[in-house]
Symmetry: C2
Subunit: 371 residues, 2 copies
C-alpha cells in the first residue's frame, strides 16, 4: 500500500486490476462453492500471482490448479495442494514436477501410457508419491481418453505403478461456449457422458475420490453436473469481454483492463492507442458475434478493431466520442489470461487511483540459462 | 558456449534459434544495404536481445530502431544511435526517453502537435537534444501525417522548439503484403507518394537528412524507392512463415522455431503439442491463403490448426506422418516478433544440439513496482 497515484503517472500500456471488483469476483465463486458443497480449485493461469492465489485460498479454495511446472513451483509457496492439469510428458517436465517441494501434495492429470511412464520414472527417482487423475474427453476433443474403457485401463495402469496413486478423473468442458442461459442441452449432455463414465469406473471396481471439471463459462452451472466434486475456473478472478458475452459475468464484473494512451489521431475516423497485440493478445471474442480485440471500459461501443504489435486501432464508427492524442483509455480485453501472460507487473486500482502493484511471478517458463 | 546438449534435455515449449541461419540472415541484409548504399537501422522488436543487436552493428548497421522506452534503455548498452519509431505521447513515456544515457544520439518519430509538446517538455527538462523525424502516412493508414502540408507544418513546429532538432521523415510500408514478386505497383505508388512529399518539403526550404522507411516484406526492394536513405527491417533476423509466404525469404531461412512436445494423441486424427497461444501467439498467416498458427519445420504440410493457451492442435490431414506422444517437433511460427515477446530465454542451436542461450532482455516494459 502506497499513497495513491493517478493513472496519468503510469507509462502505458499496463494492466490495471480493480481491487473491489477482484474481491467481489473471488467472493462470488467462493460463496457458490460453499452453497453447493463443491471444492473450488482455481486455475492460476489467469493471474499467475501468489498474492491473488492467497486470496483464493483464504476464501476456502481447497488448493490450486496449474498448467506448467513453473506455475506449480511458484504456487508451492502459497499452497500445499496442487493439481497440474496438463499431461506430464517428457522427462524434463516430469522431473521438474517431481522436484516440487516435499510439503506439496501433487496430483497430475494425464491421458496416455507414455505420460504414466514419464511421471512414474520421475516420481520414483525423486522418491515421492504423485496422485493421478485420468483425463476424459467429454466433448472438447482436445485431450482425454476417448472411451470409459480406455480411461479405466489408464487408471489400472496407474494403480500398478506406485509411487503413483490413482485419485480420480478430470475433464474440461471448454467446448461449452453457449451463453450460460442456453447451456441446458450442453450441460445435460455433459452430465450424461460423465455419468456413463462413472458407471464404467464403478463397474470396474474403481471409485474416484475426485471428479474434477469446470471452466469459467460453465462456472455457475457446475452443481448441475452430477458427480463433479471439484471445479477449476481460472478467468473468473478478472473476467473479460468473452466472459461477459457468454453471460458468466456482468460488464461491471470485469476487473482487468489495459490502460492505454491515444498516440495518434492523424488518420481520419480512427484513433490509435499504444496497446497492440503485444499488450492485449490477438484473441478472438467468443460467445457472441463480434469483432475486435477488446472494448473500452468507459465507451463499450468502441472496439479495438485491428492491431499491430504496439498499435491498437479504435473503431469510432459506433460512437460519438472523439478522443484526443494523449487521452487515457482502459481496454477490457477479450481474454484476460493472455494479457497477464504478456505483462510482468499489474497495478491494483480503486476508482481513478493506483494503490498497489504486484509482479506476475509465474509468467514465462522459469527456464534456466545455459552457463 | 557450453558443451552441446540435445534438444531432449530442454523443457518445452521453448524458442530455438538456428545460429547458422541467423548469421546468414544478418549477412544478407548487411550485404544488401552495402550494395545499394542504404543505411540499415534494424528494428530490435524482433529479437529484443543486445547480443543479436551487437551482431547487427558489427555488420555495419548505423544504429538501431526501437518501439518502446524499455527497448531503447536496453539497447543503449550496445548502440549510441537509437531511433524510437513510436509517437512519444504522454509524460511518462517522453520523460523515460529523455532520460536515456547521454551518449545516445536519440531520434524520435512523431505525427502530432501533442507529441511535439510532450517530447519538447521532457527534452528541455532533461537538457538534451532530441532528433525528430516527421511520420508520413504513405498508405498504411495507421499513423502519420495525411498530407505533405501537414508534415511540413509539423517539421516547422519542431524546428521552432529547441532542443528538438528536425532531422527528416519516416514512413512504414506495412500495408505492402503482396508477394515480393508482385509488389511492382505498390512499390511504384509508394515511390510516387514519397517523391511528392519530398518535393513539398524542398519547396518549403526543408531538406531532410534522413528518409527512413522499409519493412521486412519490402526489404529487398528498398533500393527501388527513390529518396529512401535508411531502412528498418526487424523480422529478417529470424524470419517466419509469413515472411516465407510473401517471398522475402526461403523456408530454409527461418531461424526461429518453437521446440514443442507431443503431449497427447488421444483424439483420433490429431496430435496435441504443448505450444499453444502462450508460446506461439495467435497471429494470422499473412501473404498467402492459409490457416493455422505455424507449421512444422520438418513436416511443413502439418500446421498448428487451432490452439488454447497451452495446447496446439496439429492438423495431420495433409500428412502421412503420425507422431507419438513424447515426440519433439519444431514449429515455424507465423510471426517471430510475437514469439520472442512471449519468452524470457532463447536457445541457440546448430543441427540437433543446443550450444548457447540468451535472455530476451527487452521483453516486457521494464516498469517499476510501487513500493
Amino acid at each position: 500500500m502506497v499513497d495513491p497515484i493517478p493513472f496519468s503517472a503510469l507509462e502505458t500500456p499496463v494492466p490495471l486490476v480493480d481491487l473491489d471488483r477482484l474481491a467481489a469476483n473471488l467472493d462470488r465463486a467462493a460463496d457458490y462453492a460453499r452453497l453447493h458443497g463443491l471444492s473450488l480449485r482455481p486455475h492460476v493461469k489467469t493471474h499467475k500471482a501468489p498474492c491473488v492465489a492467497t486470496e483464493q485460498i483464504q476464501r476456502g479454495a481447497v488448493g490450486l490448479t496449474c498448467a506448467t511446472p513453473f506455475e506449480a513451483e511458484v504456487m508451492a509457496a502459497v499452497s500445499g495442494d496442487l493439481l497440474v492439469a496438463y499431461p506430464p510428458v517428457g522427462a524434463p517436465r516430469a522431473r521438474r514436477l517431481a522436484a516440487l517441494p516435499g510439503h506439496v501434495s501433487l496430483t497430475v492429470a494425464l491421458d496416455s501410457a507414455r505420460a504414466i511412464d514419464d511421471l512414474h520414472a520421475a516420481a520414483r527417482a525423486a522418491g515421492r508419491s504423485v496422485g493421478v487423475l485420468v483425463e476424459l474427453d467429454l466433448g472438447m476433443h482436445r485431450v482425454g481418453a476417448q472411451t470409459a474403457d480406455d480411461a479405466v485401463a489408464l487408471a489400472r495402469a496407474v494403480i500398478a505403478r506406485p509411487p503413483l496413486a490413482w485419485r480420480g478423473i478430470a475433464f474440461y468442458p471448454g467446448h461449452i461456449r453457449e451463453n450460460i442461459s442456453s447451456q441446458d442441452a450442453a450441460i445435460a449432455a455433459l452430465g450424461a457422458a460423465l455419468g456413463s463414465a462413472l458407471d464404467a469406473f464403478r463397474r470396474a471396481g474403481l471409485d474416484p475420490d475426485v471428479v474434477s471439471g469446470g471452466s469459467t463459462p460453465t462456472l455457475w452451472r457446475t452443481h448441475e453436473i452430477r458427480g463433479v466434486t471439484e471445479f477449476r475456473p481460472g478467468t473468473y478472478v478478472y473476467n473479460d469481454w468473452t466472459t461477459v458475452n457468454v453471460g458468466a459475468c456482468a460488464w461491471t464484473d470485469c476487473a482487468l483492463t489495459v490502460l492505454a494512451t491515444v498516440v495518434s489521431t492523424a488518420v481520419p475516423g480512427q484513433a490509435v492507442i499504444d496497446a497492440g497485440s503485444k499488450a492485449l493478445g490477438r484473441e478472438p471474442l467468443r460467445g457472441a458475434d463480434g469483432r475486435g480485440f477488446g472494448a473500452l471500459l468507459e465507451h463499450p461501443e468502441v472496439a479495438v478493431a485491428s492491431m499491430s504489435e504496439e498499435h491498437g486501432i479504435l473503431d469510432l464508427s459506433r460512437s460519438s466520442w472523439r478522443p484526443e492524442v494523449g487521452d487515457l483509455v482502459r481496454v477490457v480485453p477479450n481474454h484476460a489470461c493472455i494479457v497477464t501472460h504478456l505483462h510482468d507487473l499489474v497495478y491494483g486500482v480503486r476508482d481513478y487511483n493506483v494503490e498497489t502493484s504486484w509482479p506476475v511471478v509465474a509468467r514465462g517458463r522459469g527456464q534456466q540459462a545455459l552457463v
